[in-house]
């Protein structure tokens, strides 16, 4: 099957005859490099702005605006201080346990990501670039080497393996790690766009965002807007998991109804009760009702969930939503970097309270304490781990009020003993 036969949303995951550099170049042609410092660089930033591309790592910030900020900060910082230039970090760390799209993209279309890195780096005046990934960096290092031989790496790219951990791929944590310290978030200001890695203005973009930039550079913003909605154009990679017949990563147009996305993944494998949208910083939406909701950051936020890094997990009716969320809350509490008191103290307390709600018989004081804890952790960390955990628990209390009442009156339901549906990485020390 050629790329032309693929469904219209298959852009990043358009089938290639070969995933190597030769296959990439024959499908897409060479990346359009203008001469260094030329107007082409400003033109690419303008094209990305015009395309409406937003960050695909979970933040959803307009990518063009981010590029423009770093390019401007680089000009302000000037070329005289050593080392000169700005820095680009491609974030493929994918610490969200329910997400698999970055790893899939890096294995299926590594050269689209690498094109995006070089194009975006040159556009913002970066003199070096880092590609941060989980797992084995060797295949990507080989891909980088093959490009060096072809003269395609106008900016040197270093592939770095970042340690596991939910906050390790947070923007400031990546910078801290590459600066030689721990992969833990730091407290900004200054923002990375002003002063990040090596104290230089630093552009951090998700690998899917960069792959889109590689296509916008070739085909233009109007092409990019050919799928998706006017407010949120383009396609998005979605990791569909849980009780669906064919879990996996799917590329869909933004604005596609959630029900249609789930159908692409084979549809529900058993009667569903809800879908977790946005991963562990997202929220629960009831099924089948949420099936008609468009998959976009705006509509999901309005419904009390999130697009996040493009995650949908279907919870079957036979599973206990309180037990599922309690396990995730425990996991998130264990992911605290231990830097901020309200997170270090509050997340374990929140996980314990929700554990009592799910597996004990919660009295009104436990429910009140759980709600109090939400307010006590929100907005009180250097990163958004406490906010995300509180948001997920708040969404659970709201979406599953009937289950809460049932647990309060009768104790844990029989469904609490079912094997977990929401994926969690194995704890460290249990082997990988």
């Amino acid at each position: 099957m050629s790329a032309a036969d693929a469904p219209p949303a298959a852009r990043l995951l358009a089938p290639l005859a070969r995933p190597d550099l030769a296959g990439h170049l024959s499908a897409y042609g060479p990346p359009p490099f203008g001469p260094a410092g030329s107007a082409d660089h400003e033109a690419l930033i303008a094209a990305v702005e015009e395309s409406g591309l937003t960050g695909r790592g979970g933040g959803g910030f307009p990518a063009g605006r981010k590029m423009r900020a770093v390019a401007a900060a680089g000009r302000r910082a000037g070329p005289l201080r050593s080392p000169a230039g700005t820095v680009l970090i491609a974030n493929g760390g994918e610490s969200e346990p329910a997400s698999a799209k970055d790893a899939l993209l890096l294995s299926r279309a590594p050269h689209l990501v690498l094109d995006g890195i070089v194009l975006a780096a040159r556009a913002v005046g970066a003199t070096r670039a880092y590609l941060c990934v989980h797992g084995d960096p060797a295949p990507l290092r080989a891909a980088v080497t093959s490009r060096e031989r072809a003269g395609l790496n106008r900016v040197p790219i270093q592939v770095a393996a970042v340690p596991a951990g939910y906050v390790a791929s947070q923007e400031t944590a990546l910078i801290s790690f590459l600066n030689g310290a721990g992969a833990v978030p730091s407290f900004v200001p200054p923002r990375p766009a002003e002063r990040g890695l090596h104290r230089r203005p630093t552009l951090v973009l998700n690998v899917e965002t960069l792959a889109n930039i590689a296509l916008i550079a070739r085909r233009g913003p109007a092409w990019f807007r050919g799928v998706g909605t006017a407010a949120e154009p383009g396609s998005v990679l979605v990791t569909v998991g849980g009780a669906v017949a064919a879990p996996g990563v799917y590329e869909v147009a933004l604005g596609t109804p959630i029900g249609a996305v789930l159908e692409q993944a084979g549809g529900p494998a058993e009667p569903p009760q809800a879908v977790l949208a946005g991963g562990y910083f997202g929220g629960w939406l009831p099924l089948p009702g949420a099936g008609s909701l468009p998959l976009s950051a705006r509509s999901l936020r309005a419904a009390g969930a999130a697009l996040g890094p493009g995650v949908l997990v279907v919870l079957p009716a036979a599973s206990c939503p309180l037990a599922e969320t309690a396990r995730v809350a425990s996991y998130l509490a264990g992911q605290s970097a231990g830097q901020c008191g309200p997170c270090t103290q509050g997340l374990p307390a929140l996980a314990q309270a929700l554990g009592q709600v799910a597996f004990g018989q919660p009295g009104p004081e436990v429910l009140r304490w759980t709600r109090d804890l939400l307010a006590l952790v929100r907005g009180r960390g250097a990163c958004h781990l406490p906010d995300g955990a509180a948001g997920l628990v708040a969404s659970t209390l709201q979406a599953f009020a009937a289950d809460l009442r049932h647990h309060a009156e009768h104790g844990p339901c029989g469904r609490a003993a079912r094997p977990p549906v929401l994926p969690l990485p194995r704890p460290p020390g249990s082997g990988s």
Binding site: T54, G55, R56, G57, G58, G59, G60, F61, A63, K66, I89, N91, S169, Q170, E171, T172, L174, P185, S186, F187, V188, P189, R191, V204, L205, N206, T209, F281, P309, Q339, C340, G341, P342, C343, Q345, G346, L376, G379, R380, G381, A382, C383, H384
Partner: protein
């Protein structure tokens, strides 16, 4: 942490630096209370002009320099995961 002249000042805590010494809670109970673990909870919004001297004193008294007085208080937390 510069403050523009005339801009309303807001208190903020650097949550990494804060070690719950509680000096600010002692010195400025009008705006800062303790959470169940002894970490400061700051009343939202600008610091009233009459409390500014006390707020500056609390900032100066923090042993870990975690209490900040600036014109961009709510803006301090990092952006969400890299987009």
């Amino acid at each position: 942490m510069t403050r523009r002249r005339g801009a309303p000042a807001e208190l903020a805590v650097n949550p990494i630096a804060c070690q719950a010494h509680g000096m600010c809670i002692e010195l400025l109970p009008e705006l800062i209370t303790a959470d169940p673990w002894g970490y400061p909870l700051i009343a939202p919004g600008p610091v009233p002009a009459e409390l500014l001297p006390l707020a500056r004193r609390a900032v100066g008294a923090c042993p870990t320099m975690a209490l900040l007085l600036s014109s961009r208080g709510p803006d301090l937390v990092t952006a969400p995961d890299a987009g």
